[in-house]
Amino acid sequence: MSLAKHWRMQQQRYRLTGMQCEDCGAKLLPRRLVCPQCKSHNLQLYSFKGQGMVYSYTVVYDAPSGYDGYVPYPAALVRLDEGPLVAAQLTDVDIDEAYIGMPVEMVTRRLREHGESGLIVYGYKFRPKLKGQA
């Protein structure tokens, strides 16, 4: 269990923060040093709105250590409105309810705990949109 490893990821995990290329406008998740589109180094932090739709989904039955207490859990690749794909679990949805194209929104939930006495890691997951967004 590493405290620092999770701590330095907090802003990205809590607020879905990536980068925006100041030269070509591309929005990038996760953080990068070089824009894959135009190769610029001129990148600034950008917090994604958290809105998107399911590009693909699965349900995990055989989980890695630390996640086995949560099975079965749904996970997905989500296409965010701003363009990038992001890998995350789905939540607040039955395992047979997910579908490609499902509109989803980002929420902050427990990703895992390190046992009974260790760190709780929080981060982004996606749930079916609660209501229409302006």
Binding site: Y57, T58, L77, A87, I95, L111, V121
Partner: protein, 384 residues
């Protein structure tokens, strides 16, 4: 660049070797290969291994194995690229000989998976994913492939059972491979009914991780001498990488690293995809097999599964794959798989494949790490 020949091979059976550790398995495959090659030492040893530290607490594996195999002092180094570790070790062995630095090298792939079980193994396998952006979300390697399979099914209008033919083919071929872990055929119905591991991937769609070691001896033409005429030659060798995380690739369903490495290897070997008689591909999951066929230029995009459905991947088909059982039925000692593929191709190209013999002149072996972030392709030619 010098020519590189394979003058000896050795392999252990693939299974849960409860009573043998990695150094044991590796050394026994080395001794077999040395004997076959008629030598008692080599200039260097490249050890392909993915998870020795994670699963058994042992690093510095190459020095350990060199010593245990009676080759103490030999230049030895371990190569890691997740599931492509074996292929990557072959690549380095090839470079050492082709470049002229060494005359004779050993390439050994070894993996010891069975010392841990269940979630601990899934956690170890997940080290091949992007830790900060995939593994942290509880996305196992299986789950990532499941995401690819689900999308592929959606894009190309396929059902789960359509993917069964890869496993059915691999199991059918393993019946005649005495080193294989599973030697009984399976049916499409059994594939459909098997329990889900990560929907839509089931137990019968997942290569079983296991223990094993395989070794090849690589020689320059000078070192091979007279043996060169009866030895299989490596005519193409290339390794390419891609973004580790699926979401960092512009099209997750296209394996760019596979395409890059395959096409470089074709070019070097002076062959076209049509001239490949056997393809020992990395069938960790059916979807990966299908995408490998496509990115290697052996099936158009979206047609990889259909190729299998039409029977073209069988021994008697146009593009035989996994001729000795592949990862699915021969078994999947992760970091060793890439070397097993070469061993199996050599058996085929030397006409030593027994009941599974394919009439082959040119074979291709391809080893993949994770969901396609590392791909290594080797092209082999039968002796004259």
């Amino acid at each position: 660049m010098r020519r590189v020949y394979i003058t000896g091979i050795g392999q252990t059976p693939v299974r849960e070797h409860w009573d043998r550790s990695a150094r044991d398995l590796a050394a026994s495959s080395i001794l077999q290969a040395l004997e076959q090659a008629g030598i008692d030492k080599a200039d260097a040893i490249y050890v392909g291994n993915a998870l020795s530290g994670e699963l058994t607490g042992q690093e510095q594996l190459a020095a350990l194995i060199a010593d245990f195999a009676g080759l103490t002092g030999t230049e030895a180094i371990r190569v890691e690229a997740a599931g492509a570790s074996g292929g990557a070790a072959v690549r380095l062995g090839y470079l050492a000989v082709a470049s002229g630095v060494h005359d004779t090298v050993l390439v050994t792939g070894v993996e010891k998976m069975s010392d841990l079980a269940g979630p601990a193994v899934e956690e170890a396998l997940a080290t091949s994913t992007d830790e900060e952006y995939e593994a942290i979300h509880g996305l196992s390697v299986v789950a990532l492939h499941a995401l690819l399979m689900r999308r592929y099914m959606h894009d190309y209008d396929l059902e789960r059972r359509d993917f069964a033919h890869f496993s059915v083919n691999s199991h059918r071929n393993a019946v005649n491979n005495e080193y294989a872990m599973f030697r009984r055929p399976i049916t499409v119905e059994a594939f459909e009914k098997a329990r889900l591991v990560a929907d839509p991937i089931s137990l019968l769609d997942s290569a079983p991780v296991a223990d094993g070691a395989a070794t090849i001896v690589l020689c320059s033409d000078k070192a091979a001498g007279k043996r060169a005429n009866s030895s299989v030659e490596i005519t193409g060798s290339a390794l390419a990488t891609d973004a580790v995380a699926l979401h960092d690739r512009p099209n997750p369903l296209f394996l760019r690293a596979v395409q890059e490495s395959a096409h470089k290897a074709y070019a070097q070997a002076g062959v076209t995809p049509k001239q490949i008689d056997i393809f020992e591909l990395h069938d960790a999951f059916a979807i990966l097999a299908a995408l490998s066929l496509e990115a290697s230029g052996l099936a158009p995009e979206g047609e990889g599964v259909r190729l299998a459905m039409e029977g073209e991947i069988a021994l008697e088909g146009r593009t035989p794959i996994c001729t000795m059982g592949g990862q699915k039925a021969r078994g999947y000692p992760v970091g060793a798989a890439g070397v097993y593929q070469i061993v199996e191709l050599v058996q085929q190209l030397r006409s030593e494949a027994g009941a599974n013999q394919v009439d082959a002149r040119v074979g291709m072996a391809q080893s993949i790490g994770g969901t396609g972030a590392t791909a290594v392709t080797h092209i082999l030619k039968s002796p004259e």
